[in-house]
C-alpha cells in the first residue's frame, strides 16, 4: 500500500507533511488539492515529517490536505517519440496540454501510446544480455532508435523470446528476458529512469580525443570543444550566451540536440519552436527540429521544476548516447537552476554558503557535468554527450559561486566580454581570457594535425599570439599615444584586429557567415596567419589603420560569400591586390631604420621552412619583448614628441 500523509505546514512552495509509513529522500508525491493533484518531491525527512517541494503554485492549499507518495523518484519515460517534442521540466508534453494558459496540476504523457513504431530485432533468442544492450532497432524521424535492455535491469539475462520485424506500439512487449533465477521479465519499447541517477550502461569512458565541430570560429579555431567534452559560457546579460547556444545547436556536428531552457525567456523557446521546423540540418539535409528535443522550463514556470529540468535533459541525452549517438546537450542557464536550489535551501533554513547558495553547490555542479562524456558501449560502439552550459553571473562579476564552481567542473571556458558586446564585436567571446583544456591534450593535438591540417595547431597558436601581442601593444599605444610608439606597434595592433574581425568575429544572423566548415576555417586561418606574417611598409601610422580597415573589409566580404564561390574568389583577389600595395617582399633594400624594424618583424614571423617551426614560442616572444624595450627607448630620444606626451611618460615613471 502506498504511504500517505497530511499537510501540517506551508511556506510558499515548501510544504511539510506528517507521514504514516515509509518515505524516501527524493520520492515523488502528490498533494490532493480538490480535484487537482500537485506534484512534489521529498527534499528532507525529519522523523515523521517529510519536507516536500511542490512543483506547482501552492495557492489555496490547506493544512490537513492529504498527500500520496508514489514510491519512486522523479523519473522520465524513455522510448521512441522523444525527438522533436517540447517538454516541460518534468517531461510533460506541452503540446498535449489544453488551452492557452498552463493549468496547475495538468500532467501529460510524454510519448505517444497509440503510434506504431518500427522494430527490427538486433539480438536473437538465447543471447545473453545486460542493461543497455541493444535488443532491436527502429527509426525515429530519420535517426536509428535502439530498443535496449532497461537500464534498471541488474545482472545478466537471457533472451527467452523476441518479436520479429514489424510495427509495434511502445507498450507492446517486444522481448521476454529471463534472469539468473529463471524469473521472466517483459520488455517493451519504453523504460523509466530516475533523472538524478546517471545512466552507466557503458564499458569505458576515455578522455575526449576528437574535436567537436560547431561551425563557430571562436570555438573550433581558437578554443575547440571536444566530442564528449564540457564547456561553459558565463557572461553578463545581453552579452550573447543564448544566441551563441542557438547557433551551436543549429550547426554543430551532432546526431541530435537536447536543449534545456532552464528558467530563461519563453520567447527564446518560441524562437526554436518557430524556426527549427523550417531550418535545414546542415549535415543530414533534414529539418533541424527532427533532431532536436526541447525541455522548456521557462522563468515563469514554477521554480522547483527548474531544478528537475536540467536532470531531465541530461537523462534523455544519456539515453540517446547509449544508442551510440553523438548528443549535444545545451543548458541555458545553469545559474537559474542554482538559484532554484538557493531558494529552497533558504526556505528550509539551511546554513547558507557563499551568497546564500547551498554549501554543496560545487559538488552538485561537478556531479552534473561529469555525466557528459565520450563512451565505449558494451558492444564496442561509441556514443557521446557534449555539454555546454551558460552561466549568468550576478552583476556580470565572475567571482561568484556558480561561475567558480562551474569553472572547476567544465573543461572549456568561453568568457563573454561586456566590452566586446558593447562594441558589437560578436560573438563577444574574449578569445584570450577563454580557454579549451582540450587544446593541451596530446590526443587532441594529434587528431587536429592529422584530420585537419598539419599546420593547424601551429596556426592557431600563431593567431592567438597575434591577438595577445596586439593587446599588449594596444595598451602601450593607449599609454604613450599614437605617435609615441613606433609604427610597428600600430602594425601589430592592426594585425590583431585582422584576426579579431575575420576569425573571431562572426555574424550569427548572416546566412552564410553563421556557420563555417572546418575546411573553410582552415583555409581562412591559413590566409590570415600568412598575412600576419607579412611585412608591410608605411610612412605614417595613420596609413596603417586605413589600410588594414580596407583589407579587413575585403576579408569580411569573403566571410559573407559562399566558400569558393565566384564572389568569394573576387574578394580574395581584391585582398591580394591590397596586399601588394604595402607588402614588403623579402630582400628589398630599406633605409636603416626601417630595415631594423623589419628584421624584427621577420624574426617573429614567416619561417616558411619547416625546420624553423621548432623554434619555441616562448623564446620567440621573449626575444620580442627585449626588442620592444630597446625600440621604444630608441624612438623616445629620436623624436621627442609633443609636450603632453612627455608629461605622460614622466608620470608613468
Amino acid at each position: 500500500m502506498k504511504t500517505t500523509g497530511k499537510i501540517t505546514g506551508i511556506i510558499a512552495n515548501l510544504v511539510i507533511v506528517e507521514t504514516e509509513g515509509n518515505v524516501a529522500q527524493n520520492e515523488i508525491c502528490y498533494i490532493k488539492h480538490g480535484d487537482e493533484l500537485l506534484m512534489s518531491e521529498v527534499i528532507k525527512i525529519m522523523g515523521e515529517k517529510a519536507y516536500i517541494q511542490v512543483f506547482e503554485s501552492t495557492r489555496g492549499v490547506k493544512v490537513g490536505t492529504e498527500v500520496e507518495f508514489t514510491g519512486h523518484m522523479l523519473e522520465v519515460t524513455l522510448g521512441p517519440g522523444i525527438l522533436s517534442k517540447n517538454f516541460d521540466g518534468l517531461q510533460n508534453d506541452l503540446n498535449k496540454m489544453e488551452g492557452v494558459f498552463l493549468k496547475r496540476g495538468e500532467y501529460t504523457y510524454p510519448l505517444d501510446v497509440k503510434k506504431q513504431y518500427e522494430f527490427k530485432p538486433l539480438a536473437k533468442k538465447g543471447d545473453s544480455v545486460k542493461a543497455g544492450d541493444w535488443l532491436g532497432e527502429g527509426t525515429e524521424n530519420w535517426i536509428p532508435h535502439k530498443i535496449m535492455v532497461p537500464f534498471k535491469f541488474n545482472g545478466n539475462f537471457k533472451i527467452k523470446s523476441i518479436e520479429n520485424k514489424g510495427k509495434y506500439k511502445i507498450e507492446d512487449t517486444i522481448a521476454v528476458l529471463t534472469d539468473d533465477d529463471g524469473k521472466e521479465h517483459k520488455v517493451s519499447m519504453i523504460q523509466k529512469w530516475p533523472v538524478k541517477v546517471p545512466i552507466k550502461a557503458y564499458k569505458d569512458k576515455p578522455r575526449p580525443f576528437k574535436i567537436f565541430e560547431t561551425g563557430i570560429r571562436v570555438f573550433d579555431t581558437l578554443n575547440p570543444m571536444a566530442e564528449g567534452g564540457t564547456g561553459f559560457i558565463p557572461g553578463p546579460f545581453g552579452s550573447g550566451k543564448t544566441v551563441l547556444q542557438h547557433n551551436i545547436s543549429k550547426n554543430a556536428e551532432a546526431d541530435l540536440v537536447v536543449i534545456a531552457a532552464c528558467g530563461e525567456r519563453a520567447n527564446e523557446v518560441v524562437e526554436i519552436f518557430t524556426e527549427f521546423p523550417e531550418l535545414d540540418d546542415p549535415r543530414s539535409g533534414r529539418k533541424l527540429m527532427e533532431r532536436t528535443t526541447i525541455i522548456a522550463n521557462t522563468s515563469n514556470m514554477p521554480v522547483a521544476a527548474r531544478e528537475a529540468s536540467v536532470y531531465t535533459a541530461m537523462t534523455i541525452a544519456e539515453y540517446y548516447r547509449a544508442m551510440g549517438l553523438r548528443v549535444l546537450l545545451l543548458a541555458d542557464s545553469t545559474s537559474r537552476w542554482a538559484q532554484a536550489l538557493r531558494e529552497m535551501s533558504n526556505r528550509m533554513e539551511e546554513l547558507p554558503g557563499q551568497d546564500g547558495y547551498p554549501m554543496d553547490l560545487p559538488a552538485i555542479i561537478s556531479n552534473f557535468y561529469s555525466r557528459a562524456g565520450f563512451v565505449y558501449l558494451n558492444n564496442g560502439e561509441t556514443g557521446s554527450i557534449t555539454f555546454i552550459g551558460t552561466v549568468s553571473p550576478a552583476g556580470g562579476n565572475l567571482k561568484e559561486p556558480v561561475t567558480e564552481s562551474t569553472k572547476k567542473a567544465a573543461r572549456c571556458f568561453y568568457a563573454l566580454s561586456q566590452q566586446r558586446a558593447d562594441s558589437k564585436r560578436y560573438p563577444a567571446i574574449d578569445s584570450l581570457d577563454s580557454y579549451s583544456k582540450y587544446l593541451e591534450y596530446p590526443e587532441i593535438i594529434e587528431y587536429l594535425n592529422e584530420n585537419l591540417d598539419s599546420k593547424w595547431t601551429e596556426n592557431v597558436h600563431y593567431a592567438k599570439d597575434t591577438l595577445l601581442r596586439g593587446k599588449e601593444v594596444f595598451e602601450q599605444i593607449n599609454i604613450l599615444g599614437d605617435d609615441g610608439v613606433p609604427i610597428d606597434y600600430h602594425i601589430k595592433h592592426w594585425k590583431a584586429e585582422l584576426v579579431d574581425f575575420v576569425i573571431a568575429q562572426q555574424d550569427a544572423f548572416d546566412k552564410t557567415d553563421a556557420s563555417s566548415s572546418f575546411d573553410r576555417q582552415s583555409y581562412m586561418l591559413e590566409k590570415i596567419v600568412n598575412t600576419c606574417k607579412m611585412d608591410f611598409e608605411f610612412d605614417d601610422f595613420e596609413e596603417v589603420g586605413a589600410y588594414f580597415k580596407k583589407m579587413i573589409n575585403q576579408f569580411k566580404q569573403m566571410n559573407f560569400s559562399e566558400f569558393d564561390s565566384d564572389d568569394f574568389k573576387k574578394y580574395e583577389k581584391a585582398v591580394e591586390k591590397t596586399l601588394k600595395e604595402r607588402r614588403v617582399e623579402e630582400g628589398s633594400e630599406e633605409d636603416e631604420d626601417k630595415a631594423e624594424e623589419k628584421s624584427k618583424e621577420k624574426k617573429s614571423a614567416e619561417p616558411k621552412e619547416k625546420d624553423d617551426k621548432k623554434e619555441s614560442k616562448s623564446s620567440e616572444s621573449k626575444d620580442e619583448d627585449d626588442k620592444k624595450e630597446s625600440k621604444t627607448a630608441k624612438q623616445k630620444d629620436k623624436d621627442s614628441k609633443s609636450k603632453k606626451q612627455k608629461d605622460k611618460k614622466s608620470k608613468d615613471k
Binding site: F101, R265, A266, N300, R336, G395, K424
Partner: protein, 442 residues
C-alpha cells in the same frame, strides 16, 4: 476598501503575535495566499504552520490590537475584468479611485499561471515610436518586454508616455508603483490631452500609499491586460513604472519575514519574482498581444545592482537613457541599450539594409568614443578621429536624441547622409551590395 461579506467567511478575533508587517493567529481551513481583512485592512496569508496562520498586512500593523477582527475571504486576490475598465484609474486592490461605479464583469484571480510556451507566437510586429534611438537601433516588437534604465532625474516617464501614445496600441495599461502624485497627474493629463483616455486603464500606487501595496499593482495591471489581449484580441501595452520601487517593496517583505537576503539586500527569489511578471508579455496567435515597457531607476547609472541586473537577465533588452553633454540632449545610449527582438523585424519589416546601417553607425560611434578617451588622456587626434567626433555629434543630434520623431526610412537616409559626409564606404565597412544600392555621396 470593503469586501463583500459572504456566507463562508470566517471571523476570528484573537491575534497572538504581531510584527511590523504581519499578524499571526490560530485559524483553520485557511488556504495559502488567501486574502483576509485584518481590522479593516487587506492582508494575505504568507505562512501556515499547523493551526497557526501568518498574515501579511499590506498597510502595516500600526494600531492593530490583539482583539482585532480578522475576516478570511476564502480567495486569493482577484480583479473584476470587463470593458468598462477603460478610461479609469484604480488602486492597488483594483477598486476605482474616483467615482464609486464598480466594474461589471468576471472576477479573475490575479497572478494566475502563464501562457503555455507552445501556444505563444513568435513576435513579429514592429512598433514604430518615431524615436530613432529606439526604432533604428533598438526596435521594439509587440509581445516584447523591455525596461528603460534611467537615473531618477531623467525624463523616463515622459519618454514612456510618448512611446505609449505613438505605439498604436489598442489599450495602454499604466501600472504606477510609488508614483509621485505629480507624475500620476502628468500621465492623466497627457493621455487626456492626446484624446487617449478611452484607451487607458490605470492601477496606481502613489508615494502616499503604503509601499507594500505596490506588490499587487503589476498583477492587477497584467490581469486586465490578459483580458483585453485574450478576450478581445487587442494589442495591449503595459507600462510598469517604477520597478525599482516594486522590488524595494519585495525586499521590505522578505526582510520582515526574516528571509536570508542575497545581493544588495534583495530577496534570493528576486529573479523569479520579476520574471513571473515580465513573462506575461506575449504574442498570442489570434492577434492579441501584451507588450511591457517598464522603468527601472538606477542609482548613479549602476547596472550591476541586483535590481537592474536581474531585470536585464529577464527582459528582452533595455533602453538606456543618458544625457549627452556634447549636444545637450537626452539620448538613447546606443552602447548600453539593446532590443533583443529587433532581429525579428529589422531588415524584414523594415528596409533590408536596416541592420547593417544600424551596426555601421554604432561602430563608428564607438570609434568616436575611443577618440574621446584619447582626447581626455591628452593625446593628439588623427584626422580620422576628428571625423568620428564630428560624426558622433551629428549622429547624437539627428538620430539618438529622444526628441527625434521620424519614419524608419528617413532614419536610414539620415544615417547614409552622415556616413557620406564624414567617411568613405571602406571606412564604414558595409556590405558592398548596400553601398551600391543606397550610398549617396553628398
Amino acid at each position: 476598501m470593503e469586501q463583500d461579506t459572504k456566507a463562508f467567511q470566517r471571523v476570528y478575533t484573537k491575534l497572538f503575535q504581531l510584527t511590523k508587517a504581519t499578524v499571526s493567529l490560530q485559524a483553520s481551513g485557511v488556504g495559502n495566499e488567501e486574502l483576509a481583512i485584518v481590522d479593516g485592512r487587506p492582508a494575505q496569508v504568507v505562512k501556515i504552520m499547523d493551526d497557526i496562520v501568518t498574515l501579511q498586512v499590506f498597510q502595516g500593523t500600526e494600531g492593530i490590537a490583539t482583539d482585532a477582527e480578522v475576516i478570511f475571504t476564502g480567495k486569493a486576490p482577484t480583479l473584476k475584468v470587463g470593458d468598462d475598465l477603460t478610461g479609469r484609474f484604480f488602486d492597488a486592490y483594483g477598486s476605482p479611485m474616483e467615482g464609486s461605479k464598480e466594474i461589471m464583469g468576471n472576477e479573475v484571480e490575479v497572478g494566475a499561471p502563464s501562457v503555455n510556451p507552445v501556444r505563444r507566437k513568435q513576435p513579429s510586429e514592429f512598433i514604430a515610436t518615431g524615436i530613432a534611438g529606439i526604432d533604428l537601433n533598438n526596435s521594439l516588437v509587440t509581445g516584447q518586454k523591455i525596461p528603460f534604465f534611467a537615473d531618477p532625474d531623467q525624463p523616463f516617464n515622459q519618454v514612456m508616455a510618448m512611446v505609449a501614445l505613438r505605439a498604436k496600441a489598442d489599450k495602454i495599461i499604466l501600472a504606477g508603483m510609488g508614483l509621485t502624485n505629480d507624475d500620476y497627474l502628468f500621465f492623466k493629463n497627457i493621455f487626456d490631452s492626446a484624446g487617449a483616455l478611452d484607451r487607458i486603464v490605470g492601477f496606481i500606487n502613489t508615494t502616499e500609499n503604503p509601499p507594500v501595496e505596490r506588490l499587487l499593482v503589476p498583477d492587477m495591471a497584467l490581469s486586465a491586460a490578459e483580458y483585453f489581449a485574450v478576450e478581445k484580441n487587442e494589442k495591449v501595452l503595459v507600462l510598469l513604472t517604477d520597478m525599482t520601487l516594486y522590488s524595494d517593496a519585495l525586499s521590505i517583505v522578505s526582510n520582515r519575514m526574516d528571509q536570508i537576503p542575497s545581493k544588495d539586500s534583495m530577496p534570493g527569489s528576486l529573479y523569479s519574482d520579476l520574471a513571473r511578471l515580465y513573462e506575461k508579455a506575449v504574442q498570442f496567435p489570434d492577434g492579441g498581444s501584451i507588450t511591457i515597457v517598464a522603468v527601472t531607476t538606477l542609482s548613479g547609472g549602476d547596472i550591476t545592482h541586483a535590481i537592474p541586473d536581474n531585470t536585464g537577465y529577464i527582459t528582452e533588452g533595455q533602453l538606456f537613457l543618458r544625457k549627452d553633454t556634447d549636444v545637450g540632449k537626452v539620448i538613447v545610449d546606443p552602447f548600453r541599450s539593446l532590443s533583443r527582438l529587433k532581429q525579428l523585424v529589422i531588415g524584414k519589416k523594415t528596409r533590408e539594409d536596416h541592420p547593417h546601417v544600424m551596426n555601421a553607425a554604432v561602430r563608428l560611434y564607438a570609434d568616436a568614443a575611443n577618440a574621446k578617451t584619447k582626447l581626455e588622456n591628452g593625446f593628439d587626434l588623427t584626422e580620422y578621429d576628428e571625423r568620428t567626433l564630428d560624426f558622433a555629434k551629428a549622429y547624437s543630434e539627428k538620430l539618438l536624441a529622444i526628441d527625434v520623431n521620424i519614419e524608419v526610412e528617413e532614419m536610414l537616409e539620415t544615417a547614409y547622409q552622415l556616413f557620406a559626409k564624414y567617411f568613405s564606404p571602406e571606412e564604414v565597412g558595409m556590405r558592398q551590395e548596400f553601398v551600391d544600392k543606397y550610398w549617396k555621396d553628398n
